[in-house]
């Protein structure tokens, strides 16, 4: 297990270089055809995420977002198998040499379906599990659980059983379990897909607050970009397993308008139809732009 005390804190949280990956072929595929180029889930992906950066991973379905997140936490290829080329370093740890267990100390992962991320009966036990696995003593575990519960505004849930929680509460518990070890990088795969718009928005701004207060780097894969562009420092767009755009949110909106209209946010589409510039990254930004135009 990596020693957190001696680990470098200043290097990039995530450094991916020339990553190409294909999931294992099914029997039918392997007997009828060799691995075609179309079977690649990731193609020559290079991405660096600085310490404390909040990046949104955009892209259509099957564009490679989930696979990239799985690779960043070691599930690909260690858990899912397949063929991989390139290099991945997470907080200075070689993800291809180690595995998800080794990376657990530096990476937290929150998947789309909260039901499959909960393994304990009560909320407190669920949040405590990663620390218990690590062998932390009881007093420090209790302190860490309380701290993360306070940060995520869920101390009132600690004694509840997980089967009495709503989807939004479950997602917060899953996030707490991912954050309790104070990882340097948190990967989130469409965490708002099962939440209502209000709960989804709250979760995104909660992530932004943790990103600012704890200095944790965040890579968030999302379809509903209107919720999260305003909170992000940077947007990485994927298409066909490769990175098609990497830059600030406002530049992303201009790029989406030109190159992939499906990734445009509703507000940006409305502004572009009305011929208003610049395109807004969020509701507050839209209000500001409209106010400025009115004043002029």
């Amino acid at each position: 297990m990596p020693d957190l005390a001696t680990m470098p804190r200043v290097g990039p949280a995530l450094a991916i270089e020339g990553l190409t990956y294909a999931y294992p072929a099914t029997n039918a595929e392997s007997t009828t055809q060799s691995r075609a180029d179309s079977a690649l889930a990731l193609r020559d992906v290079s991405l660096t995420l600085a310490s404390g950066e909040f990046a949104v991973l955009a892209g259509r379905s099957a564009s490679g977002k989930t696979t990239l997140l799985r690779a960043a936490c070691g599930l690909v290829p260690h858990f899912h198998g397949g063929e991989i080329e390139g290099s991945i370093e997470v907080a200075g740890i070689d993800a291809l040499a180690g595995g998800p267990g080794e990376l657990a100390a530096v990476v937290g992962y929150v998947a789309q379906d909260p039901e499959t991320q909960i393994v304990s009966t009560t909320v407190a036990a669920e949040i405590e599990l990663p620390l218990e696995m690590r062998g932390d003593p009881q007093p420090s575990r209790a302190r860490a659980v309380e701290e993360v519960a306070l940060a995520l505004a869920i101390p009132h849930l600690l004694d509840r059983t997980v089967d009495t929680l709503s989807g939004g509460e479950l997602q917060r518990v899953a996030l707490a379990a991912a954050l309790v070890t104070r990882p340097r990088l948190v990967l989130l795969d469409e965490p708002t897909s099962q939440l209502d718009p209000v709960a989804g928005g709250e979760l995104i701004w909660l992530l932004r607050r943790l990103n600012e207060e704890w200095g944790v780097s965040i890579l968030l894969a999302e379809h509903r970009l209107e919720r999260c562009l305003a909170a992000a420092d940077r947007v990485v767009a994927m298409g066909g397993g490769a990175i098609s755009f990497d830059g600030p949110p406002r530049d992303f909106l201009d790029w989406a308008q030109r190159s992939d209209a499906a990734l445009e946010t509703p507000a940006a589409r409305l502004f572009s139809l009305a011929g208003i510039e610049p395109l807004p990254v969020g509701v507050r930004d839209a209000r500001r732009i409209l106010r400025d135009r009115g004043e002029r």
Partner: protein, 334 residues
């Protein structure tokens, strides 16, 4: 949808006790059911288990277990009556039946079946109370130093069963919403989809566990690994008495582990449940030696109601009150 057997956190003594103490107490009641054939003792053990569950607030679990246990008991009675021709009191002669041959329903076979069924029902109630009152997370924590992977597997199953039940309810709802013209979702189709879904979920849960550090070797807590095993090292000097002492040592070690593994999670109620479990176990063994198990089904039903049987039964029923919360001084004075 919540399973009646799912654990519900409460502040009662049985829920607060460490898993070792709860297992010692409920295990003693179930052990009595397997040691004895006397219907009176079995019924007393059943009443004790049900009383323990009700006192601990697990009424739904007890009700569901009784319903299932008594249905199973009825089935056992019927099957035993059909397949066993022993006994002198023939009630009905059914003649020759296909597969079964000559079938005579005897009062003795019915009584023997009822005893086996009652035993199964007591065991089911005991396990239902355990499932509803003992926190699986604490069991996981207590067993991790001894058998971490097995404990985690058991805890995962206890987590995935209610999730599968919720999935089944969702699939049924989805099927109903397809409209009256759609073919109804049969049980086989439901089970097939549920199995496929559960396997997918299991893979996702396994991935989550990997990410939570499940594959990290836990820091060693004790230097047990340094001890050489008692077998193998001294092969030439083995004695015929070795097995006896190893067995005694193993029983003591298991008891010590059950009591000591969960040191950090000990409760003030532990002593009560360990003591009740020990009293029940000792009384059961003493009762056996004193002939309290006076029941024979064949050749004719003979039910002995010796004083020892009655005393043991009363003691068992009383033991069912162990999870009762003592009323506080303030309440008594009020």
């Amino acid at each position: 949808m919540r399973s009646p057997f799912a654990y519900v956190p409460r502040s009662g003594p049985l829920q607060s006790a460490s898993p070792g103490a709860a297992v010692a107490y409920l295990g003693a009641l179930v052990a009595v059911a397997f040691l004895y054939s006397s219907p009176l003792v079995l019924a007393a053990a059943g009443v004790a288990a049900a009383l323990a569950g009700r006192t601990a607030g697990a009424r739904r679990a007890v009700r569901a277990a009784l319903r299932m246990g008594l249905s199973l008991a009825m089935l056992i009675v019927v099957v035993n009556a059909l397949v066993v021709n022993r006994g002198e009191t023939v009630l009905v002669r059914l003649g020759d039946l296909p597969l079964l041959g000559r079938v005579d329903i005897t009062a003795e076979a019915l009584a023997a079946g009822a005893v086996i069924g009652l035993r199964a029902a007591v065991a089911m109630v005991g396990f239902a109370v355990y499932s509803a009152c003992v926190d699986p997370d604490r069991v996981l924590r207590a067993l991790r130093p001894i058998a971490g992977r097995s404990a985690l597997t058991a805890a995962l199953i206890s987590r995935l069963v209610p999730v599968a039940a919720a999935d089944a309810a969702r699939l049924r709802d989805a099927s109903r919403l397809r409209g009256p013209a759609a073919a109804p979702l049969g049980r086989a189709a439901l089970v097939r989809r549920l199995t496929a879904g559960s396997l997918d979920r299991a893979v996702d849960v396994a991935a989550t566990l990997e990410l939570r550090g499940y594959s990290i070797p836990a820091r060693p807590r004790r230097s047990l690994a340094r001890l050489s095993p008692p077998w193998g090292a001294d092969t030439l000097n083995r004695s015929r008495y070795d097995r006896r002492f190893y067995a005694t040592g193993a029983v003591v070690a298991i008891a010590a582990v059950a009591g000591g593994a969960d040191t950090l999670n000990r409760s003030r109620y532990d002593r009560r449940f360990y003591a009740t479990g020990a009293v029940v176990a000792i009384a059961a063994v003493a009762g056996k030696l004193l002939g309290a198990d006076g029941f024979h089904a064949y050749p004719t039903v003979a039910l002995g109601l010796e004083p020892a049987t009655v005393v043991l039964s009363l003691l068992l029923v009383l033991s069912g009150l162990a999870p009762r919360r003592r009323s506080s001084t303030r309440n008594r004075n009020a």
